[in-house]
């Protein structure tokens, strides 16, 4: 027989499966014996205390630090675009009171006060917003300063799809959003759908993606590389080279990818690179140039993964030989 422990208001808190004396401790029993009454009272108080404590949240951020909050934060400052997007994807956009200058999605965060960059936040501006928690990247010095001033800081920096999922789970826990996993599964399903919509002839197309932060290629362990893998595309960059290797342009010419993907800032002068004019991707104009907004979607490992997949699929469908 299962025993249901009730708190003072009669709300169900926990269940314990009774092994001994199933008849004595049934919920419908009206008059338990005397010593048991005090035991029940003790249990009720203990459960009440446990219930109150259960509202105290503890999150372990990416620095390995346990951050404890009394209750779910209502005022949030986010200093990393991918974290901003995740918060909004979890439906908690309303709790954001401040963002960094690079957070630009969704549209409504653009009206929020900007408190500097992610790496160089304006400490005073952040403090003035009286946030319950500050979300920021692990590589920022501001975290220590903000904590010294008494603010709670949760530092996370998603770099891969797995990271993005984990971050979403942690933020879901922090924001007490039930079943954050469901939201992630929906995103994941979107990616699979995009993969399926890729025409058969486009499977296994060789692709080279140049990330616009100074001529670095997207390696197989980067977020973009993972997407490519899921979509069934072949990244010309070999696995051992790391997430964003600086590739010798000669390597690209030798690999002769079918499609080149590039951000709009890097697209200038592509044909002038030595040897590149002869590559079939350049000759046959199979170069996808992504706008700044589209690049944001592709580069940030966050909840817009499905849209990133769709962007890639669109590019490959249009430009595949």
């Amino acid at each position: 027989m299962r025993e249901v422990v009730l708190n003072a208001e009669g709300a169900k808190i926990s269940q314990r499966t009774q092994r001994k004396h199933p008849k004595v401790f049934s919920a419908s029993s009206a008059h338990p014996p005397r010593p048991l009454r005090s035991i029940i009272r003790w249990l009720t108080v203990a459960s009440l205390a446990a219930a109150l404590n259960a509202h105290a949240l503890t999150i372990t951020d990416d620095r390995g630090i346990n951050v404890t909050l009394e209750k779910s934060p209502q005022r949030i400052v986010s200093l990393l675009p991918s974290l901003t997007e995740t918060v909004c994807e979890l439906g908690q956009c309303g709790r954001l009171v401040g963002v960094d200058r690079y957070s630009n999605f969704p549209q409504q965060v653009r009206t929020l006060p900007q408190v500097g960059g992610g790496i160089d936040p304006n400490i005073e501006a952040v403090v003035a917003l009286r946030p319950d928690v500050v979300l920021m990247a692990t590589s920022s010095r501001g975290a220590q300063r903000l904590e010294a001033l008494g603010l709670k800081v949760v530092a996370m920096e998603p770099k891969t799809a797995a990271d993005a999922r984990r971050v979403m789970g942690k933020l879901g826990q922090l924001l007490e959003v039930p079943d954050a996993g469901r939201i992630w599964r929906a995103i994941d399903a979107g990616v699979s759908a995009a993969a399926q919509s890729l025409p058969a002839r486009a499977k296994n197309t060789t692709v080279y993606y140049e990330v616009s932060t100074g001529g670095y290629a997207a390696g197989t362990t980067s977020f973009i590389g993972e997407l490519m893998q899921r979509l069934g595309l072949k990244n010309i960059v070999a696995g051992e080279l790391g997430p964003f290797p600086r590739i010798n342009p000669e390597y690209v010419v030798r690999a002769d990818p079918a499609i080149i993907m590039v951000g709009s800032r890097n697209a200038l002068g592509l044909e002038q690179r030595p040897g590149w004019a002869g590559m079939r991707a350049v000759r046959e104009k199979r170069v996808c140039v992504f706008t700044a907004d589209e690049s944001d979607v592709l580069v940030r490992p966050g909840p817009r993964m499905a849209e990133a997949a769709r962007l890639m699929v669109r590019c490959v469908t249009e430009k595949a030989p």
Partner: protein
């Protein structure tokens, strides 16, 4: 006469610093209203007392450390173009920060230690490490030229190492850039305390060695003939240079120009012996960086300008005006 000028300059610099500190308490992204509300609103009080004041004071201290280091470097190497970053401290600090950023998250052990050390600690260790490497390469402090050369080599090599690190882990590029640009924004009371704990003894040592530096200015053989213990003096001064620069760079990143300009600014107003020059350079450097910090927060409030840009503008314009005045008067620059 020159001594009196020196004292007058010192008083002026202190007074100006005091005023700048007050102004700095009232300037920031939330404006003067924070000062007005400080009594009632605990957040406003925190902003004025825990953020603005230590930041402004910390800027003065970092500037003082850099000014002191600049005067020591120029006296030690008898070269008016010497700056505190000569012996590889800047590139060492940058490499330290780069490695810290790159290794973060590489392993739980590394992460745990790096969180404790912080980027501040990594920068300090890197700076001091760079100077030690220079000393090792130069085989001690005996030959000034060898020391300078070693400093240049170490600077270039460590800079290349840092570039390799950013190449391997390009994610840290932005954070590295922020460090290289320099910022006073993260300085709190603890940081002020640390800098003060370094500034006071270093200033005392450098001031005590002032007469010997004067002797050195007459030439190495003359100084040696006067019984000046060259090797010990140089070792002490290099230590002062390393620790002062390391302490400043750890808290505020690589702020250029303050160390180079402060002694020149002092000499243009009141040429003094080295003992006084070191103290006055500290005061001048402190004022320079403090004013730059206040202006950085004020000019485009609620946004901020990088403080290194302002130190260059302030110090550079004064020196330019000085050059113009001297060439207009005729004679050599």
């Amino acid at each position: 006469m020159s001594a009196r000028r020196g004292i007058a300059l010192g008083l002026v610099l202190l007074l100006a610093a005091g005023s700048a500190l007050l102004v700095g308490a009232g300037v920031g992204s939330t404006g003067f209203s924070s000062v007005l509300n400080a009594r009632q609103d605990p957040i406003a009080w925190q902003i004025v007392w825990d953020i603005r004041l230590p930041r402004t004071l910390g800027a003065w201290m970092a500037g003082a450390l850099l000014g002191l280091a600049g005067a020591v470097a120029q006296g030690l190497f008898r070269n008016p173009l010497a700056d505190p970053y000569l012996l590889g401290s800047a590139s060492g600090a940058a490499l330290g920060v780069g490695l810290a950023l790159a290794l973060f998250g590489a392993s739980p052990f590394a992460t745990q230690w790096l969180v404790r050390l912080g980027l501040t600690g990594a920068a300090f260790v890197g700076a001091v490490g760079g100077v030690l490497l220079t000393l090792a390469l130069a085989n001690g402090v005996l030959h000034t030229l060898r020391l300078l050369l070693a400093g240049v080599i170490v600077g270039v090599v460590l800079g290349a190492a840092r570039d390799l690190v950013t190449l391997a882990v390009p994610d840290i590029l932005q954070a590295m850039q922020a460090f290289m640009l320099g910022s006073t924004g993260f300085v709190g009371w603890t940081a002020c305390g640390v800098m003060a704990a370094v500034l006071v003894p270093m200033l005392a040592i450098a001031w005590a060695l002032g007469r010997m530096l004067d002797g050195l200015a007459l030439g190495e053989s003359t100084a040696s003939s006067l019984g000046v213990p060259l090797a010990a003096m140089r070792a002490a001064l290099v230590a002062v240079l390393a620790l002062s620069t390391g302490a400043a760079v750890a808290q505020t990143g690589l702020i250029a120009f303050v160390g180079l300009a402060a002694p020149h600014l002092v000499r243009s107003i009141a040429p003094v012996t080295h003992g006084r020059l070191v103290v006055l350079s500290a005061l001048m450097g402190g004022l320079l960086l403090m004013v730059a910090d206040v202006l950085a927060r004020w000019i485009i409030a609620p946004q901020e300008l990088p403080v290194g840009v302002l130190t260059a503008v302030l110090g550079g314009s004064y020196l330019l005006w000085l050059m113009h005045k001297r060439s207009a008067r005729g004679g050599m620059l």
